[in-house]
Amino acid sequence: MSDTTKSGQDFEAAASRNETVAQFEDTRRGFVGQVQHILHNNPSMVPLTVLVAAILIFGLLLGSKFFSPFAMTLILQQVQIVGIVAAAQSLVILTAGIDLSVGAIMVFSSVIMGQFTFRYGIPTPVAVVCGLAMGTAIGALNGWLVSKVKLPPFIVTLGMWQIVLATNFLYSANETIRSQDIETEASFLQFFGSKFSIGGATFTVGVVFMLLLIIVLAYALKHTAWGRHVYAVGDDPEAAELSGVNVHKTLMSVYMLSGLICAFAGWALIGRIGSVSPTSGQLANIESITAVVIGGISLFGGRGSILGSLFGALIVGVFTLGLRLMGADAQWTFLLIGLLIIAAVAVDQWIRKVSG
């Protein structure tokens, strides 16, 4: 070391190496401490806990009416669309963005799939691919405006929402394509509605798709470089750029993927409602954002897990069905869901605080 200190100050020589890594004693308090630690390191554990608690409570209150394979798979089917859209929304929100156009992209994609098949006689699989491409293209436009023109995502997607929805109505002339026609002529459009049973419980392709989608995205976000970049961009885009992340590419990939996932949601929507209806999906943006935030993803970006969004969507589904089964009427259900939203996030906050 002597040669490095050619004009170093004397006292600094006293700072000799001390190779042991410091370990402060860990004075955590047994079981509770462990639980808190787990919750702290797994942000999606909180909504999962709320979800399980909600199922148990409604199960106790309602008995087998609620605790049946029928009711459980029904909830999955009811949340599938919101769940898929929430996956797209999660990606965007992780980058500190927000996507208000998800519902419009979804319904427009489904209209493209339907109209291309029925109006122009294009083979159904090709029409489906066109619908998926349209969703991706709208997502790309969103991404370009956010990343290149540097407009706030809220504004971009607010504008795009209105543009896509108006285009959707103008193009479709608001015409519904009936379920029976699709079934006989283009049943591939209803592919996501196909059913199969596992031990008394009925699943649809759409439900399986939702679950797989979330798992794949959770993997990609956690275990690939792309995923790390998504978090970094959401955390602090400037820092990310300076430290070598291609912020533009990352944002483009996120918005395009979001558009594509919404288009898949559009396909799943046809499976669920049988028909192609241009008026669907009007609440998809609010519902997906609700799911994402109940699921513990920060609206400021960079924090949270996509699994949480799935749990968030399921929590809302469980409460809605549970409350209806308990006889709450629609207005009361609406009120209680409002309370639930606040309460779920308050619980989350509280657990995080306790676990420090």
Binding site: M1, D3, T4, T5, K6, S7, G8, Q9, F11, E12, A15, R17, N18, E19, T20, V21, A22, Q23, F24, Y219, A220, H223, T224, A225, W226, R228, H229, Y231, A232, D235, D236, E238, A239, A240, E241, L242, S243, G244, V245, N246, G302, R303
Partner: protein
């Protein structure tokens, strides 16, 4: 290291050259027709008052900001960096004064941001899975080299580190990955005595690997300890560049604060 590049250029071509660089922020002129030069294998210190424009000029050099006027040559070739990624791809690493980390991500994630290591296995090749153990080991080793012993876990989020610990991570990252040159904007500002020592040693290490360094610092003893030449910046311009052996600390300080002119100090402007 870009051996070929170095081999090709004539011996006295500077590694980096900036000519007539101007950068304005609205009404403020942060760099005012300033020149800049970094030579092969040297440690160049940049000193100057607060707000003199030191950070601004090195940001212009590495593409972090785009200058309004002037040109930048790397190894004699004109470059137009539009993003710091361009600079990084040429083997240039920067420790920014405002650190540039993702607070919510771990130390290891931050060190490998933008150049993650994938697993060699099937998972890595086809599912692009990151090789976390490898990245963590590398990060732990680099921090240990710097003597940052109080970091408790390599998976700790950067936002939970102390100011000095963060700076250590940034320095370790730059030193680990640079192949052309390194810019360090006040790398020891928040560091403790011991940690500062390690950074100075590291700077010498890097130099001995043949990689030149630009060091911005307010710490004169540190500057005079390691620098070969000193670029004195004043009011947005390069006032002069002097050999560190040819000038006393007091004169350097007098020059940079305007208490003395280059003529008085007997150095060429």
């Amino acid at each position: 290291m870009d051996q070929k590049g170095i081999g090709l250029m004539s011996d006295n071509t500077p590694i980096v050259q900036g000519r007539g660089i101007v950068k304005r922020y609205g009404h403020v002129t942060a760099i005012d027709h300033s020149d800049f030069e970094l030579r092969k294998g040297e440690i160049l210190a940049v000193i100057g008052d607060n707000g003199a424009g030191k950070s601004s000029i090195v940001k212009a050099i590495c593409g972090a900001t785009i200058p309004d006027e002037g040109e930048i040559l790397i190894e004699g070739k004109k470059v137009n960096f539009t993003s710091p990624i361009d600079a990084r791809n040429m083997g240039i690493e920067i420790v920014y004064q405002q650190l540039a980390m993702s607070p919510a991500l771990s130390i290891a994630d931050n060190m490998f941001m933008g150049r993650e290591i994938r697993k060699g296995s099937f998972m890595g090749k086809y599912l692009r899975q990151l090789d976390r153990p490898a990245m963590e080991k590398f990060a732990r080793d680099k921090l240990s080299e710097l003597g940052l012993m109080t970091v408790q876990s390599i998976n700790q989020a950067v936002e939970t580190l102390s100011g000095g610990q963060r700076q250590g991570v940034a320095v370790a990252r730059a030193a680990a990955f640079a192949s052309k040159f390194i810019i360090m904007d006040e790398p020891t500002a928040a560091l403790g005595v011991k940690e500062s020592r390690r950074v100075l040693e590291l700077i010498q290490d890097v130099k001995s690997r043949g990689i030149p360094i630009i060091l911005i610092s307010h710490n004169m003893p540190h500057v005079f300890e390691v620098a070969d030449r000193i670029h004195i910046h004043r009011l947005g311009k390069r006032l002069c560049t002097v050999d560190s052996k040819d000038i006393s600390m007091s004169d350097a300080v007098a020059l940079m604060t305007g208490a003395m002119t280059p003529e008085e100090a007997g150095v060429a402007a």
